[in-house]
């Protein structure tokens, strides 16, 4: 037992001695949550547009003012001919050009109908779609006001409620995702690399001939990472609460228990990788491509799984983070209890067992 404690101490020294890595380990989750919370949004704001006003009368000016004062758009340039449109799009800053037809005002008053053309730079399809919708909405709003004294139009009024996240904050989706990402990163990646490192430097041999049992070596290796991961998980939860006001609606005990389960899973995955990888580089590339990118993109964290092609959906289902993110969303945001997440919990437990069994089978006491 003494040797074992000594070994754990050695592992802690290893990690804490390396100040740079330590710093990154603790700063990373904070930086990530802040970036996600403040930077990564799909809000339409200050989009640069150009206007080609072939009429230049009061109505077009009014509409232009209304569009520019909405806060969504800022004017980059007033164009004077059709030729300039392509040019300005190629420069890359302007995302939308609004064209008023000649004699707009006269047509609008006399013939009661006038034309506006909106051209969007659709190389970014989603933004193009959103900004044309926004622009149309502003124009229709203007139209409604100028029709006010004519008659009340018949209309169905949709009353929209955004459930679980009334003000559409992006933090709500990023907190669970970041937790999964950070835990994966620290537990799986760090473990796999640190074991591969011992192999590469030849110190694994030293450990293997020591009186420590292989199982003790492995446990000793992972204990520090459990501690770090857990600290990080708590940092994220606290940060989400105090900075972004994201509450933990469900049971905090259940949340932490599930977090530990996921940490164990990530660790067992890390050990499995390290039994396969011979060098740190290989361990890193496997963790990078097989863990990080899928955690970000195949877990339903940012991109909804239902939109993906079927093959990818299958792939998503074998990605552990997917289940963890579902669990976190349920407990933290929806405030549901264990009854809603038992299935996911069971899957995670089974996966953990599977990884552990595989690693034990693959673990070699002898070096080739």
């Amino acid at each position: 037992m003494n040797e074992f404690i000594g070994f754990i101490k050695k592992e802690f020294y290893h990690i804490f001695r390396d100040v740079r890595t330590m710093l990154i380990l603790f700063v990373m989750p904070i930086a990530q949550i802040l970036i996600f919370g403040y930077v990564v949004t799909n809000d339409i704001k200050d989009i640069q547009i150009a206007i080609l006003d072939k009429s230049k009368d009061n109505t077009t000016k009014e509409i232009t003012n209304k569009i520019l004062s909405s806060g969504y758009f800022i004017l980059n340039k007033n164009l004077s001919s059709d030729k300039e449109i392509e040019e300005i799009f190629k420069k890359g800053d302007v995302k939308e050009v609004i064209i008023f037809e000649p004699n707009f005002d006269r047509k609008f008053e006399k013939e009661k109908t006038a034309n506006i053309q909106i051209i969007a730079d659709a190389s970014d399809a989603n933004t193009a779609n959103l900004i044309t919708n926004y622009t149309s909405a502003i124009i229709y709003d203007y139209l409604k006001k100028s029709n006010k004294n004519v008659q009340v139009p018949v209309q169905i009024v949709p009353k929209v409620r955004m459930v679980f996240n009334e003000s559409l904050k992006t933090v709500y989706m990023f907190v669970p995702g970041t937790m999964a990402l950070i835990l994966m990163l620290i537990s799986a990646m760090m473990t796999s690399i640190s074991i591969a490192r011992e192999k590469e430097l030849g110190t694994m041999e030293v450990l293997l001939v020591s009186p420590l049992k292989p199982i003790q070596i492995i446990i000793g290796k992972v204990i520090p990472y459990i501690a770090i991961s857990f600290t990080n998980a708590i940092t994220i939860i606290l940060l989400a609460y105090f900075v972004f006001g994201l509450p933990v609606n469900g049971s905090i005990v259940l949340l932490l228990a599930e977090t530990i389960l996921f940490i164990l899973l990530a660790l067992s995955l890390g050990i499995l990788i390290s039994t396969i990888a011979k060098s740190q580089q290989v361990a890193m590339f496997i963790s990078m491509f097989a863990l990080m990118l899928p955690t970000m993109l195949l877990s339903g964290f940012i991109y909804p799984i239902e939109n993906m092609p079927e093959v990818l959906q299958w792939l998503c289902h074998i990605m552990p983070p997917k289940y963890f993110i579902t669990i976190i969303k349920n407990i933290m945001i929806k405030g549901t209890g264990f009854m809603f997440v038992w299935k996911e919990t069971l899957i995670l437990t089974l996966m953990t067992l599977l990884f552990i069994i595989l690693s034990i089978k693959k673990f070699k006491i002898r070096l080739e």
Partner: protein
């Protein structure tokens, strides 16, 4: 010159000898490109819509058929209460439910206006925003239709109207993939280039072989060039290969000149690899360098405008992007491929890259010490 050639030869031999890394370097990025492009889509094709039609009138049915006709929705019916529908939402069985209340049509006829309730699962704010936009636009279309069908306004009092036509340039079908492919390609090429360079030198440090190089008459700049060039070539090759796959599989348009693109890419890769080099001079172990690179990469990728547009970021974040190499290349590759921008259009970015490259390479040379 001969020294450099030998150094490069050595690096290539090392790369090609490593049978585990080789497939990781060349096959992984391609696999990732295939997976990620399909994965990163906001094309909402399967919005699970739960409909509660308590009114069962002709109007409500017509409105519902609008939703059924849209390719975006999977419509399910439910004769349940709002409470039960909320439960379904909690269980993720649906993304949105619409409740058409009892007496909907009657109220519409009588008072000219009538409400329906939409509840959207908004944990993912981005998709919720899109679902909302789609649903509202369907209802707005329907509104327009009933205005024209129901009311024949008295002559002379005709409502004024504005016809808005939307045209989507450069991508009329609003295909999201052709926007993502170039961006993801940039990320993959950079990951490969930056990591390989950074890890390579630290590995020499860790193994102690760097000392052997240090005692040879190889000069500082020989060493730096000898380390950069092989990975620069690999990264350029990978970019070309990725473009080919993008062209064949995803039919990304290549409107601008490839020469412009590769010139800029070459410049960009000097910066990217230079950063890797610089980080490797700071770090002592592979673990350290990996975490350093990883940290910067994550921050840079998230801010690069790959997933969300840079314009909607706060002011300070846009300022931070001035030192974000990804930001420049993602912007430029999209401009060249999708819009056919020429050298003149990307001058600003070229200057930025030139300055960046000079600074980062000087830093790396300054930090790299031949003495231990």
């Amino acid at each position: 010159m001969r020294t450099i050639i030998y150094l490069i030869q050595k690096e290539f031999i090392q790369v090609f000898r490593n049978k585990t890394m080789l497939p990781l370097i060349f096959i992984m990025p391609i696999v990732m490109l295939l997976i990620l492009v399909y994965a990163t889509t906001f094309e909402m094709k399967h919005i699970n819509l739960l409909l509660i039609d308590k009114d069962m009138s002709q109007t409500s049915r017509e409105l519902i058929s609008k939703f059924e006709g849209s390719p975006f929705y999977n419509v399910k019916y439910c004769s349940c209460s709002v409470k039960e529908a909320e439960d379904e939402l909690t269980k993720d069985k649906c993304d949105i439910f619409i409740n058409i209340p009892y007496g909907f049509e009657k109220k519409l006829v009588k008072e000219n206006t009538s409400d329906i309730q939409l509840q959207i699962n908004a944990i993912n704010a981005m998709t919720a925003g899109l679902i909302n936009a789609y649903s509202i636009s369907i209802i707005a279309d329907f509104n327009k239709k009933i205005i024209t069908e129901w009311k024949n306004p008295p002559k002379g009092l005709k409502n004024k109207s504005i016809n808005i036509t939307n045209s989507y340039w450069f991508n009329p079908e609003l295909n999201y993939k052709i926007y993502m492919v170039p961006g993801i390609l940039v990320i993959l090429v950079t990951i490969i280039g930056m990591f390989l360079t950074a890890l390579n030198i630290v590995r020499e440090k860790e193994m102690g072989t760097i000392e052997q190089i240090n005692v040879t008459p190889i000069k500082k700049h020989h060493f730096i060039i000898g380390k950069l060039l092989p990975f620069w070539i690999i990264a350029m090759f990978e970019l070309a290969f990725g473009l080919l796959i993008g062209k064949l599989l995803f039919h990304i348009p290549i409107i601008g000149s490839l020469f412009t693109l590769f010139t800029f890419a070459g410049l960009y890769l000097i910066v990217a690899l230079g950063i890797g080099l610089f980080l490797s001079t700071i770090a002592n172990t592979q673990q350290q360098v990996m975490f350093l690179t990883f940290f910067f990469m994550l921050v840079f990728i998230l801010m690069s405008g790959l997933f969300t547009s840079v314009e909607s970021m706060p002011e300070w974040a846009q300022k931070v992007n001035y030192i974000n190499p990804y930001y420049y290349f993602i912007k430029v590759i999209r401009m060249i491929l999708l819009k056919g921008s020429s050298f003149a259009d990307i001058l600003k970015e070229i200057y930025a890259m030139l300055i960046y490259a000079t600074i980062i390479i000087s830093l790396a040379i300054w930090r790299y010490r031949k003495t231990v």
